[in-house]
Amino acid sequence: MATRIFVPRDAAARAVGADKVAAAIAEETKRKGIAVEIVRTGSRGLFWLEPLVEVETPAGRIGFGPVAAKDVASLFADGLPAASHALCVGRPEEIPFLKKQTRITFARCGIIDPLSLADYRAHGGMRGLERARSLGPAATVEEVTKSGLRGRGGAGFPTGIKWKTVADTAADRKYIVCNADEGDSGTYADRMIMEGDPFLLIEGMAIAGFAVGATKGYIYIRSEYPDAIRVMERAIVLAEREGLLGAEARFDLEVRVGAGAYVCGEETSLLESLEGKRGQVRAKPPLPAHKGLFGKPTVINNLISLATVPAILADGAEHYAALGMGRSRGTMPIQLAGNSKYGGLFEAAFGLTLGEIVEDIGGGTRTGRPARAVQVGGPLGAYFPRKLFDTPFDYEAFAGLDGLIGHGGVVVFDDTVDMAHQARFALEFCAIESCGKCTPCRIGSVRGTETMDKIIRGERVEANLALVTDLCQTLKFGSLCALGGFTPYPVMSAIRHFPEDFDRPRLKAAAE
């Protein structure tokens, strides 16, 4: 019987040669007459080990990584790869990075064939939708509310309350919209689910549709994710074929592709974009739950929120709500990124400290230098210095320090980082991506960038810092959406926690 060999097809694995490795394995085993079946999976999220090749054995899977195409000949030198090979990492489940996690949303990611519904079902898939149907719509909404699930896009709004609002609003047509416009640097959780466990999202959206009485769903995926778009579209076709979507299921699903606008991750801007317009934000109210896509009641949720619903329904709200701290219930897929030694996806209950995440789990920096600044929550998230490493990963704790956990991205910088430059970038990024609707964001970001340039050149540093601080107040309180409203977080945290980077005599001398 052919031995199954698992090679990820996740974009991050392909980016470091997984396709070449899979091709080399196919060729080498054919040449040697070793019977294998190559299964392309998603990624487990241990990116420093990618491409991580796994071989099925009677004792479970054994991992090898990072494997390059040139390693394949030695891996199969004596038949199937042996545990004695230098690249062997043992059973993946025993790797501390994976062993310490609580995988609920990502339980199947990296393990199953993403496009096999049989695999999905064999690993516990579809239990959530079945339970929802047995509970009925109202009890399904109640279950999501009881779980304490909050929006994983960053705003942290209780998902169940959003659903209830839509369920209670009468309309001839309602929509479920999945926000898969994952634009925050340092995040890739949505991408991993779409590429590694797409039926999970389909199931989550089908549950949402059933719960609120919506018959049509859209998945808005950013164009920077061509792999995710391909897999997701294919998964929808397969689900239609099995009657999970379509007329019989009374729920249709469609992928829509973004066009490179970061602001379309903001929910009202995303809805405008779906309607075929410029991605400009809408003033709220009306809430999308009342008047959303094409003016109809719309559930618009982050992908991870929707992908967490099946597990909540399958295993019960209490099971999920038992995890976490304070008002942050359940688990969060923390995405270690940037200059992290062990960069990857770490799903855990809320409450780990930032220091534990960066140092214990991430192993410090890839460069081996001390970690100096950590940006949490994407380009609109604050930069944290080492002295705040005891901050617990929790919506309220981060908000209390003028920061946010956002979509769970944690970008590590070593001590070569220039925080004045990072503050400038935050403003420049806001200027590039501003939708232009409100003045503080459209103009303020440009003036802020210019003022930061003056500070970096050493021109009237104190006065210009005061100006930037004042401008940030205007942005924070005068912007329509989080793009302008939160850009002050990275800027002000950099100024407050790393003042030494904003007044450098050397730079001043050079400018004079």
Binding site: A11, P226, F294
Partner: protein, 167 residues
């Protein structure tokens, strides 16, 4: 090096010049879809390599929009081009996660090597280099995308590899 005219680049790309019949075919494929404008624009760009200016009034007519509205959408989104790119398109990530692993310095070396600035195309029409803000490969940076294919853990050697590939 002679500057290649856009038409020559198009031939090189093996992409057809604008034809109203073909444009109408694309529009027809999306007939009846809700919010069809973005899917139509994506298809126009996939077919012609850009959104040709003469396509704007045709789309506007079909969707019962004004030309200004269609132009407004085309120009709002970073993805849509009003003229064709080079034969190959390299997108380099400039976002924070890639900055933290020296992505900016490496990006500068790429630009210098090919003698272009951000958004520029080499005079022979071979390569366009564009900035992108995150490809979702944030633990494997610096990262890039060449003609839709992702590349991670870029090093100085990657510049030579990519130069060979687009050669």
């Amino acid at each position: 090096m002679a500057v290649v005219r856009p038409v020559a680049i198009l031939e090189h790309l093996n992409m057809p010049a604008w034809s109203e019949a073909q444009g109408n075919d694309i529009i027809r494929r999306h007939a009846g879809r809700e919010g069809a404008l973005l899917p139509i624009l994506h298809d126009m760009q996939a077919t012609f390599g850009h959104v040709p200016t003469p396509a704007v009034p045709v789309i506007a007519e079909a969707l019962n929009l004004t030309r200004a509205e269609v132009h407004g959408v085309v120009s709002f989104y970073h993805d849509f081009r009003d003229k064709p790119a080079g034969r190959h398109v390299l997108k380099l990530c400039r976002a924070e996660a890639c900055q933290s692993v020296n992505g900016e310095r490496l990006a500068r070396q790429f630009l210098d090597r090919f003698g272009v600035e951000w958004g520029g195309t080499t005079p022979d029409g071979r390569l366009t280099i564009e900035a992108t803000y995150c490809l979702g490969l944030c633990a494997s940076g610096p990262s890039a995308m060449l003609d839709g294919e992702v590349i991670g853990r870029l090093t100085k050697d990657s510049i030579d590899d990519i130069a060979r590939e687009v050669g």
